[in-house]
Amino acid sequence: MSAAIRAEVRKLFSTRLWWLLALVLVAYLVFIGAVMAFSFTVQVDTMGQAEMPTGEDMAKQIYSLTSPIGYVFPLIIGSLLFTGEFRHKTITASLLVEPSRWILLGAKLLASLSVGVVYGILGTASTVVGAAPILAWRGEGAFLGSGDILVLLGMSVVVMTIWAVLGTAIGSVLTNQIAAIIVILAFTQFVEPIARMALGAWDLTSDVAKFLPGAAADAVVGASFYAQDASTDLLSRGAGAAVMLAYIVVFALIGRYVTLRRDIG
């Protein structure tokens, strides 16, 4: 198994895509962090709205944006572990050196942890780099010394890592690269944000909204841009992580018993 994981890590990092995507992730999150920090601090200053978060809460909300804004990146890079193999037909060579579909699947899921951590650290740091100076300058501070904030940033890295694993699990089901990317883009950019808003608007359905993958991820981070009150609108950290793992398990099992049972050729 360790050889299989080593092979998968080599596959990931031996093409340019991982760092090209990382570059876009960094630029995007630095930009979003700066824009959000700017707009929050400006609005508070000029309008003084009561319901706008202030101080550390504001910092928390902005720092928690890495996952809800950037999760498309680890999802896509994760999915490529599978879709790239099918697209370029390297799946043949991969299954020749390791015919066990279980080992192939397991090694890919575990290998995606590596790129997930890299994306988590880069992404989280980018949001902070974009937001912190503006928060410090215009707001009430960057709060980077706060224990709560440090935990949140750590959890942000964890969640981005889980996204990469989920991406790989999704890739095991949707092995067509174009289809996988379109589905991931559509889900992360339209379906889930709209579903979370819509379902979150009523008390009855907001319980369902908590179980959407993005909401579960916010629960792990411990703060959400969508939720006014993290303690009631989100699951607990543990439950959020469990929901994300459940998604991974479901997709991976479908991948194993549907996609990976098919003939290769």
Partner: protein, 308 residues
């Protein structure tokens, strides 16, 4: 000495929906020889190889290497080396990285990857991305991948595609060396002439079914001579043939006689006083035998070089 590992295909059948790609196919491949696996396009060669390699699940029957299914072999790539398609590479990965990616699971070092690139003549392009490789270079890289684990069994699907003439000669020599080392070498092709200088044995399939399996000499024995006869009186020619019991076929402007040499025919015509205007050996090459074997779908399978 190498472990002698044979290949046994036993009543193998594969259906894709309504298409029967491989139909009750049985043959064996022995170690220490190069075996040509021949058949026209769509005959089922690639499908058979994929079943041998555990990539395609047989509808029925078995495909065994050294008595085991591929997926039951431990570290299979160190026992069986295969190159199936010349296009199965990530274009953004270098040739060297393509090998390094599989090295851990095959259980070989990076040094072995360099060695194999050297062997197939790609050492200078090792760091270049495969997207920029020519067809022949990809073919060579596929071969390097197949050989990484120093396998006892080598399966190559159309390995000569895209190779230049020097490359083909080089490949032939290489396969010969492998066979002489005691390895089992199975090479598919849709043209007999491509492999007839390389192979010891042939397995010929058409429409998923076995049509012939023998040594190359066994196949040669099926190649009959064909002599074209022409003369002013065609009826007398036909009478001569009938008298001697020759098998003939009327063709435009004459008569073709099978299985009898031109000298014999000439002597017989002289003795009978039959005037000849043409007595020409139009020969039947192995390629014609191959065409004949593979073009008639209902031809019964022939074995051991016995003409059907």
């Amino acid at each position: 000495m190498r472990t002698e590992t044979d290949i046994v295909v036993d009543h193998l059948t594969k259906r894709f929906g309504s298409v029967t790609a491989v139909d009750d196919l049985s043959f064996t491949v022995r170690p220490g020889a190069v075996t040509g696996f021949l058949g026209p396009n769509g005959a089922g060669k690639t499908t058979t190889l994929r079943m041998l390699l555990g990539l395609v699940r047989p509808t029925s029957g078995a495909a065994l290497i050294g008595g085991r299914r591929y997926e039951d072999i431990e570290r299979p790539a160190s026992v069986v080396g295969a190159a199936l398609e010349a296009s199965s590479f990530h274009p953004g990965r270098s040739g060297l990285d393509h090998l390094r990616v599989y090295a851990p699971q095959i259980g070989v070092s990076d040094a072995r990857c360099h060695e194999m690139l050297e062997l197939v003549g790609l050492a200078d392009s090792a760091k270049r991305r495969v997207g920029g490789y020519s067809m022949g270079m990809r073919q060579r890289l596929g071969l390097a991948y197949a050989l990484l684990g120093d396998p006892d069994v080598i399966l190559l699907d159309e390995p000569a595609n895209g190779l230049d003439p020097q490359g083909i000669v080089w490949l032939r020599r290489l396969l010969r060396i492998f066979a002489d080392e005691g390895r089992t070498v199975l090479v598919s092709s849709h043209v007999l002439s491509e492999v007839q200088h390389t192979v010891d044995d042939v397995v010929i399939i058409a429409q998923g079914r076995l049509v012939h399996a023998s040594s190359l000499d066994g196949l040669r024995a099926l190649a009959e001579t064909r002599v074209r006869l022409a003369g002013p009186d065609e009826e007398r020619l036909a009478g001569l043939a009938a008298e001697h019991g020759w098998r003939v076929e009327r063709v435009d402007g004459g008569l073709d006689v099978f299985g009898v040499s031109a000298a014999q025919i000439g002597a017989a015509a002289f003795a009978a006083g039959v005037e000849l205007h043409q007595l020409a050996d139009v020969g039947v090459g192995l390629e014609d035998v191959f065409l004949r074997l593979t073009s008639s779908p209902d031809a019964p399978a022939s074995r051991g070089g016995v003409a059907a």
